[in-house]
């Protein structure tokens, strides 16, 4: 039992260490990054970066990748701002529902055709971006009724309404993935798809669910960020794919599918938020954040790969994840 706990905990130790180190480094070099406000600024990373990373993490756990999250967030932002007359809750609900439905459609097509998710999501990446431009008549949309975004600007200690919503989604999705049958199916198809199918996991349901979740998370993220800012530009959020994927992988979600939890995602989002907050406080522009994010991403992926090579167990799992596409020697 103790050994099981230890093994479970091991996947969190590395990202926790990275988070601690970056926090100490940034806090000691950035005078403004301290106390309650530092925690607040890190938690403020959860509504946009966190939710996108969470959705992406679900697709990575399922052994897929949704490239369309940035366009989905942009479209949802425009839709939310345009439907501001329905109130804050209404606007968020409409945008999120749209994301869930569009994501479910993507998942259905991917499952039905059995194609690689990269293929379809490259197409929808362009298509949804176009839809965002069309929905906003090719120019930034302003929120007409500014009053509805007021609650988003309030601060409650280290929390805001946005971060409370985002963290609630993390908790709910975490429980769903870990303890429900539908959630476990997503892990199963990501870990070993053919074996999962042979064991009776349905062909469609987990994939449809996966892309519905990633679409919904990206849409809610875009809607929250756009409503808070009071406007939505159709060209927004084209860099969230990089930071979202980086957060999920830095946190310890396995690129080979089937492994990782929302706690991993939360740790990764924490690391990237600390880095972004530290760089922003020094007046560095977004491009340096990109550089650091990219470097962090490649280092973490390399570490995971090397660690995987060292253990025979991981190697077998890796082979299973990769061998799902072709008839490997093990199945012959």
């Amino acid at each position: 039992m103790a050994r099981l706990v230890l093994r479970r905990a091991r996947t969190y130790i590395l990202p926790l260490g990275v988070l601690a180190v970056t926090w100490v480094v940034i806090a000691s070099t950035t005078p403004s990054f301290k106390g309650q406000s530092s925690v607040f600024s890190v938690l403020e990373g959860f509504p946009l970066l966190g939710l996108v990373a969470l959705g992406l993490a679900v697709t990575i756990i399922a052994g897929e990748l949704d490239l369309s999250v940035g366009s989905m967030a942009a479209l949802a932002g425009v839709v939310a701002v345009k439907s501001g007359s329905t109130g804050l809750v209404g606007a968020l609900a409409i945008a999120t529902l749209m994301g869930v439905v569009l994501g479910a459609v993507q998942g259905t097509v991917i499952a039905r055709l059995g194609i690689n998710s990269l293929v379809l999501t490259v197409g929808t990446l362009i298509l949804l971006r176009g839809a965002a431009y069309l929905a906003s008549s090719n120019k930034p949309s302003q929120l007409k009724n500014f009053v509805i975004s007021d609650p988003l600007l309030d601060r409650y200690g280290i929390l805001s309404i946005s971060s409370i919503i985002a963290l609630s989604i993390f908790v709910v999705l975490g429980l769903f993935l870990a303890y429900t049958r539908y959630g476990r199916e997503i892990y199963a198809i990501g870990g070993a798809r053919d074996e999962a199918r042979a064991a009776g996991v349905p062909r469609f349901r987990p994939l449809v669910l996966t892309f519905a979740l990633s679409g919904g998370c990206a849409a809610l993220a875009g809607a929250l960020a756009s409503l808070k800012g009071g406007s939505a530009a159709p060209q927004n959020y084209d860099d969230v794919l990089l930071s979202g994927a980086a957060a999920a992988l830095v946190g310890g979600v396995s690129l080979y599918g089937g492994r990782g939890t929302v706690l991993n995602v939360a740790l990764g989002v924490g690391v990237l938020s600390v880095v972004a907050a530290g760089l922003a406080a020094r007046g560095s522009d977004a491009s340096l954040t990109q550089l650091v994010t990219g470097a962090l991403l490649i280092v973490v992926v390399a570490v995971e790969y090397v660690a995987g090579r060292l253990g025979q167990r991981s190697r077998l799992r890796h082979a299973a994840a990769q061998g799902a596409a072709v008839s490997g020697p093990m199945r012959a």
């Binding site: 194609i115 176009g130 069309l134 980086a246 990219g294 596409a325 072709v326």
Partner: protein, 333 residues
């Protein structure tokens, strides 16, 4: 993710060489794409006055060229089973910025080209080596793109780099009425096309993508193939960047900012399978041309940018789904 109920897929059948069924499938979908381009052109001409003018045709070809070069260059990566590069724009942009900066400071263009090509080949070789070591190509290129972007942004402070009073004579030039970049696009397509279909290294690329285990078992070095594919890709991006820099006379970190997605769209519309083993550079070139024609028709008909993107995305989705249905249908028979 092939259907588990039919173990011997045509591509993976014994003998290693592509079977007749695959050859027939390839011919069929080539015919399909050529047919689609032809029908597209006919409809475009019928609906759009001013489409079939010399200037407009030249504009279409020029627009297709940069994207086409990137797409043709990326095709070996896709064929080899290494999916796609998400760092296309950043590498081409870096090539463009470096070329413009060097020439703007008085260096001879020929020398600048050599420097840019060598630099990009090194960048490509590093990425190729990392991927060949076993890391995920999509994530590796995404991260490499972010790093390159950050470095160039830092070096230029996000400012426009201009070629100044050293314009390149052939930048907007043409030979016998054909713009330079169109000629280069044709040349790159022919060279990469022949490399892939007629050389041993090229055949190895396709075999690796079709069936990695079989390829490795028959003595092909997967690492060398991956490295080779990434070097070709980077070389093509160097050429694309130089052409863009020479043509515009300036470059910023935002240059060519839709190149990654456009090149991917061209490859997919061309019908190359993203998981590898099936497709060709010719198809990617045709895909780039088809998208350029469609975009041009929409521009002439006053489509907004949103409409154009939506149609382009819809075309990619429809073609991908259609080709998959056709492939499936043929396999069942």
């Amino acid at each position: 993710m092939t259907g588990t109920q039919t173990p011997p897929t045509p591509v993976a059948s014994e003998g290693g060489a592509p079977t007749r069924a695959v050859a027939r499938a390839e011919r069929f979908s080539t015919a399909l794409i050529v047919g689609a381009v032809a029908i597209g052109v006919i409809i475009a001409v019928a609906l759009t006055p001013g489409f079939l003018t010399v200037d407009n045709v030249r504009a279409i070809l020029r627009n297709a060229s940069i994207v086409g070069i990137a797409a043709v260059g990326m095709t070996p990566i896709t064929l080899s089973g290494n999916f796609i590069s998400l760092g296309t724009q950043q590498s081409a942009m870096a090539a463009s910025v470096v070329f413009v900066a060097l020439v703007g400071n008085g260096l001879a263009p020929a020398l600048a080209i050599v420097i840019v090509v060598v630099a990009l080949l090194v960048v490509g070789a590093i990425q190729g080596a990392v991927v060949a070591a076993g890391l995920n190509p999509v994530i590796t290129t995404l991260a490499a793109g972010a790093i390159i972007f950050g470095v160039v942004a830092d070096a230029t402070n996000g400012q426009v780099v201009s070629i100044g009073d050293h314009p390149v004579s052939w930048g907007n030039g043409s030979v016998a009425g054909i713009p330079v970049e169109v000629l280069v696009f044709a040349l790159v397509t022919v060279v990469v096309g022949l490399l892939v279909s007629k050389t041993v290294a090229g055949r190895e690329v396709t075999l690796c993508g079709a069936n990695k285990e079989t390829a490795i078992a028959s003595g092909i070095s997967y690492r060398r193939v991956t490295l080779w594919a990434f070097m070709i890709f980077s070389g093509a991006l160097a050429i694309a960047g130089v052409l863009a820099g020479a043509g515009f006379g300036q470059a910023t970190i935002q240059s060519l900012n839709t190149l990654t997605v456009d090149a991917l769209a061209a490859i997919l519309v061309g019908g190359t399978a993203i998981a590898g083993g099936y497709g060709s550079p010719w198809r990617s070139a045709a895909g780039a041309l088809l998208i350029a024609v469609i975009t041009n028709v929409m521009i002439l008909n006053n489509f907004s940018i949103g409409g154009r993107l939506a149609v382009e995305g819809a075309v990619v989705v429809v073609v991908v789904v259609l080709l998959e249905f056709l492939r499936r249908h043929r396999e069942v028979r």
